[in-house]
């Protein structure tokens, strides 16, 4: 069985396109609105959807996604409801790959085998466990293999050659290059630095390389896509949700804003 992620990147490659990957937190600000946002992402032809599993202590996230996580937990978002969200989305949408991104504790407490089995059943294609470095990959390796869930790993400006090798050993689907030294949604990446690193990584791997953290506009994406295979946009989308939560805009307005924003990124 071919994983949707591979299929997607093959398609993109053959039509000479780059991936637009978007991130939202499951259940932020609530289940119903998350459903609507997912549909908005789908109707705007994003290539991959990354769904964050909320965690009380998101060590690698900046204030925007921290607040998103807290809103989601408050609204009762749990792994069960995240799986339900995806299952319902998959009724209409069979193609867009879905990646779950989260911290290890909620996954571990759910039960690892149970978690990955459920991922397969509802139609999750890949997983990023932020705080599980390759050294600790044994915890999930058996299950990612058994249930054919891609294990997507983060590479960072601090990753050296030796580590890169080790990381590549446990990665499939695509490589996620973190463009800045730091947390989500705070710093702006230096295109030149990222280009240098991505080129280094290319020498060692044939996997598609997507770039994320701090990406907010079309210009950045254009520049990054000259050498990457796609970009991840997270905090910039979550900010629209935050506006809505603050009561500054209606839900409908938020959804059109997200639509417009995505259309603009893809121009």
């Amino acid at each position: 069985m071919e994983n949707r992620i591979e299929k997607k990147f093959k398609e993109l490659k053959s039509s000479n396109k780059k991936a637009l990957i978007t991130f939202i937190t499951s259940g932020d600000p609530n289940y119903k609105t998350s459903q609507k946002i997912m549909q908005t992402l789908r109707l705007n032809n994003v290539d991959l959807i990354e769904i964050g599993i909320p965690f009380s202590d998101p060590m690698a996230d900046g204030p925007t996604i921290q607040r998103s996580s807290q809103r989601a937990i408050k609204s009762g978002s749990k792994l069960e409801s995240t799986f339900k969200l995806i299952q319902e989305f998959r009724v209409k949408e069979k193609k867009i790959p879905i990646i779950l991104m989260g911290y290890f504790n909620p996954i571990f407490q759910y039960g690892l085998e149970r978690f990955f089995k459920k991922c397969r059943i509802v139609g999750v294609d890949g997983i990023i466990v932020v705080d599980l470095p390759p050294e600790e990959n044994d915890y999930i390796l058996r299950f990612t293999k058994k249930f054919n869930i891609h294990n997507i790993r983060l590479l960072t400006p601090t990753t050296n050659k030796k580590r890169l090798k080790q990381i590549l050993k446990y990665t499939n689907g695509f490589l996620y290059y973190i463009s800045v030294m730091g947390i989500t949604g705070t710093k702006k990446p230096s295109i030149l630095e990222v280009e240098k690193s991505v080129k280094e990584i290319r020498k060692m791997s044939n996997l598609p390389i997507c770039v994320g953290f701090g990406i907010t506009n079309r210009n950045q994406i254009k520049n990054l896509n000259r050498f990457s295979d796609g970009c991840v946009v997270g905090s910039a989308i979550v900010k629209f949700i935050e506006e809505f939560c603050k009561g500054k805009v209606t839900e409908k307005k938020m959804l059109t804003s997200i639509s417009d924003f995505l259309a603009n990124l893809q121009k």
Binding site: D57, Q70, Q109, E135, L154, T156, T158, M181
Partner: protein, 407 residues
């Protein structure tokens, strides 16, 4: 079958594990840094120059060795046992925390780092870090929960005097665990020039090991001192547990001495049968937080829950991984004392010994008072008096007033 004897000095293993606990569960950005800290620490540990420096500052700046004091009136109160206080409250800055700060900051300087970040709960670790940074002219940024800033005003003022920048943390529960999240976030954002000085035996490997090693001067001294005055090992060791650094500091040099029974005392808050406590070992279950696998207070979905204690220094939903392992090995027994019991012990110690203890070690003393009947005459007990009460008098006076009003 006889249980095989464990050499406790052999842990952690290469992966930073104590049995199944510990390890290194952090985002990739931090991994190369942690490996670097580990490598440099191992080198420093072997270096005579480093050892000499550490010793110099321990003796001349911190004021070590700290006395081992026979607490006569408390002993009597407990029914003619012999309680000795290991008086780390007499250290410069008023707690054991500075032992670790001197060690880590000497290491940071060896690594060429110019900017130090730290988390703090009670403010004791922040104060010790700010102090050593002032001494060595390093930039110092302290993350502190908004709630704790209010509870520990005297320490906040002192840290500012020492030139540290205090960053109030409002995320999450605005206490110690969130301060630790923020300090970790700062570190990943400033990896080139920054060193993160963790204040307890938690965090990712090598921190639990490194902090334990620096703090174990407490136990090394205590062992020498007790052998000198009593000519034998103690029957019992007792210490309070937040993250567990003062406790491991005292316990570690005795772990292989089977005759010594060891007790750790967690913060029972309003009672471990309520939701308001910080007893991770008695009431939590193993999970992943702040880079290691250990007992945590959490809900069934793996979200970390609030800890509660009258003592800001014990208000942490996790515990150092080595303690989790020592618990499962049965080598150390863990109990708890409530806010109320700690307050009573605090008052009693002040009156009977002329020592105003911090709220944290008041928990250890409360445990002894509570269990007085279980000890035999002439039992030899060492309790870690790991901090003095100066920082707590304002918040305690409030608590005592509340009680008066309730009457």
């Amino acid at each position: 079958m006889r249980k095989q004897k464990i050499n406790y000095k052999k842990f952690p293993d290469k992966q930073g594990r104590f049995g199944k606990f510990g390890g290194r569960f952090v985002a990739e950005t931090l991994m190369p840094l942690l490996l670097e800290v580990e490598e440099q620490y191992k080198k420093a540990k072997k270096s005579n120059d480093f050892k000499k420096k550490l010793e110099y500052y321990f003796t001349n700046y911190v004021g070590r060795p700290s006395p081992l004091y026979f607490a006569k009136r408390i002993s009597k109160q407990l029914g003619d046992v012999k309680v000795y206080f290991k008086r780390d409250e007499l250290n410069h800055t008023g707690a054991h925390k500075i032992n670790n700060c001197v060690g880590q900051i000497l290491l940071a300087m060896k690594m060429g780092k110019k900017r130090i970040v730290a988390e703090t709960g009670a403010g004791q670790h922040g104060l010790a870090t700010a102090t050593v940074c002032a001494l060595f002219d390093l930039k110092c940024i302290i993350y502190m929960g908004k709630l704790d800033i209010k509870r520990q005003a005297p320490n906040v003022f002192k840290m500012k005097l020492l030139g540290a920048e205090i960053v109030p943390v409002e995320s999450g529960t605005a206490t110690l665990k969130d301060a630790m999240n923020e300090a970790l976030r700062d570190w990943v954002s400033n990896v080139d020039d920054t060193f993160y000085v963790i204040g307890t035996v938690a965090g990712p490997h090598p921190y639990p090991m490194m902090v334990r090693d620096f703090q174990s001067i407490i136990g090394i001294e205590a062992k020498k001192q007790i052998l000198k005055v009593e000519k034998k090992l103690p029957n019992y060791l007792v210490a309070c547990i937040g993250g567990g650094s003062n406790a491991l500091g005292l316990f570690y040099p005795f772990l292989n001495d089977e005759s010594v029974q060891i007790f750790g005392v967690e913060a029972g808050g309003e009672g471990t049968n309520t939701k308001k406590h910080a007893a991770s070992l008695s009431k939590g279950k193993p999970g992943f937080l702040h880079g290691n696998y250990t007992y945590l207070l959490q809900d069934e979905h793996g979200q970390i829950t609030d800890a509660h204690s009258i003592s800001a220094g014990l208000d942490y939903p996790g515990i150092g991984p080595e303690h989790s392992w020592l618990k499962e090995q049965g080598r150390v027994k863990y109990f708890s004392a409530t806010d109320r019991e700690a307050l009573e012990a605090f008052k009693l110690c002040s009156k009977l010994e002329g020592i105003i203890p911090a709220l944290e070690p008041s928990h250890a003393l409360a445990f002894l008072l509570k269990n007085a009947k279980k000890f035999k005459k002439n039992d030899l007990i060492i309790m870690n008096m790991c901090g003095r009460g100066d920082k707590d008098i304002f918040s305690i006076s409030e608590h005592l007033d509340v009680k008066l009003n309730q009457k």
